[in-house]
């Protein structure tokens, strides 16, 4: 079963949330960020080239121009490979754990897995981010020493930064699974 809904991120950009339900214990949330827009790509390239031509007219050295070519190419590659995230996925399996995957524009994927025994709760929190105050979803990890305490906070959807309405939808689903998991593990 797959449901897709459109939300927006904190900058007003478009975000698509895909919800796949495999079983009552297993759900997957996929947040697709907008693709690299032609406009920002053109703007970045133009800036680099304008600066390069400016320098070229000043010092009359053609090395500047070839350097500009390399800067644009390497910059684009680096951006696609290390910075630009196309899709963030949160897979929650009640009996197993939570897996977070972010796929970069170049195809690179990085995955983190947290087993259910370590997860204390999933909550929505507020933070001051740049010149904004935003809501974000995070996973609280249990402190192995003190069972009531929280050892670490792992933020989810770090690059997409969806707005509250989207977070609430994901949050409710996660809570449903966590509650089911509690019931079943409580009465074996």
């Amino acid at each position: 079963m797959e449901v897709e809904r459109i939300f927006s991120d904190i900058y007003g950009g478009r975000l698509a949330l895909q919800r796949r339900q495999y079983s009552p214990f297993c759900r997957e949330f996929c947040l697709g960020c907008p693709r690299l827009s032609l406009r920002s790509l053109t703007a970045a390239t133009c800036t680099v080239w304008l600066v390069a031509y400016g320098l070229f007219t000043l010092c009359q050295n053609s090395m500047v121009l070839s350097a500009a070519i390399f800067i644009t190419l390497l910059g684009l590659l680096g951006y696609l490979h290390f910075v630009k995230i196309d899709q963030e996925t949160l897979l929650i399996i009640g009996s197993l754990g939570i897996q977070m995957t972010s796929s970069y524009a170049s195809g690179k994927e990085s995955t983190t897995f947290i087993e259910m025994g370590k997860v204390k709760d999933v909550v929505i929190n507020e933070a001051i981010y740049m010149q904004k105050v935003i809501y974000y979803l995070c996973i609280l990890l249990k402190d192995p020493v003190e069972p009531q305490g929280v050892s670490q906070v792992v933020p989810v959807f770090q690059s997409a930064k969806p707005r509250l309405d989207c977070l609430i939808e994901v949050y409710r689903s996660c809570q449903e699974i966590l509650a089911l998991q509690k019931v079943t593990s409580g009465s074996p």
Partner: protein, 492 residues
Amino acid sequence: MTKSHLNMAYRRVNGPGQSLTSILSHNNCGIHQPCRTGTHNICMVSDFFYPNMGGVESHIYQLSQCLIERGHKVIIVTHAYGNRKGIRYLTSGLKVYYLPLKVMYNQSTATTLFHSLPLLRYIFVRERVTIIHSHSSFSAMAHDALFHAKTMGLQTVFTDHSLFGFADVSSVLTNKLLTVSLCDTNHIICVSYTSKENTVLRAALNPEIVSVIPNAVDPTDFTPDPFRRDDNVITIVVISRLVYRKGIDLLSGIIPELCQKYPDLNFIVGGEGPKRIILEEVRERYQLHDRVRLLGALEHQDVRDVLVQGHIFLNTSLTEAFCMAIVEAASCGLQVVSTRVGGIPEVLPDNLIILCEPSVKSLCDGLERAISQQKSGTLPDPEKIHNKVKTFYTWRNVAERTEKVYDRVSREVVLPMDKRLNRLISHCGPVTGCTFALLAVLNFLFLIFLRWLTPDSIIDIAVDATGPNGAWTQQYSYSKKGEENKEISESR
């Protein structure tokens, strides 16, 4: 991008059902319901808040708690104190924003008038604030918030907590700044009539927009305990910071004179400050080590324990807007002897206080009168004094009166931009007026730019913790349980 969790604060939770976020499901957030008539969304702004300790801090906290009790939504905005940054919740859902702004001097933030606008605007919009209430004229952030709030067209209230002079250069400059800051503020609150007079003169205000609402004490914190004091001797208690304006030089004249006259007289002095050395000198010269105790700095919770050891409370201040110390002392059942300066004569009725001129001779006369009354046993019972005083100054009363100010302010109109500029130019002198009018215009342009960058519509509306739709008030059983879980935080 790793900064997304730069500042964070989270509630310690006992299970999935007790976190703040779980309340979301009960509260139809995202859709802002219009306020019930009569309640306000209030934002208190000041540089001074807990963990910093002092009169302004406890004033803001107590007033906010009582306003929450009366059904208003209250949030507090202050700057980050060390590791304490981000968003915290205090008892009964009082939300505090600790903003990462640079502290410049004496816990007051640096001001450029503009740099705090993006963050403050974001908070005002997401919390749907209707009234900005700034505290303390020493706080740069409070003035910044007033300036931005007026640009955004929100109602503004300002509380002044201190008295100023008129003579020296620094007060001339601060008075000018205060004139600019307050000339288009909707309403100003002072703590005593003397303070009102002072503020009206300093800031050249229309007295009709200045209200007097005194401070309050928590009477349950200051109860008398006559068994704690030794009735064979008479003990005079002094609790104040040992600085010039508290009249410590007068005290150093009084101590030897009275100690020579009355062999059964002891002094207890609580507080710390640069003038401590004078008192130590006096003690040394007249060999009074067993009769004058200097306690040094006192924590607020220890004040009552010191007060109940004495019979007479002495206050030697040279200037004072509203003296909390004498109310606390009277609430503990002590006879109060004080100088007749500033707002002090308004504070207590004549039968509870002996007022003297600020001179050694007059204060000694006053103290001798109190001592002879004590010896003849004509002083009223401490319990009786306490019962009388506890009705005078309560935070509930302060909140009620502040609420009336809010009601009045919310019916007023905020000056539109052109009138505001006119007011600034006509009211603050040609040079300052024009400078600040220009700054106001720049601030307005900056606001328009910010509105273009992040329109109000894409700012998430915060989930109310307090107020008519407050998550805390609806979930009363939660807040009771939640109180034991003190806020903790972790930032990285």
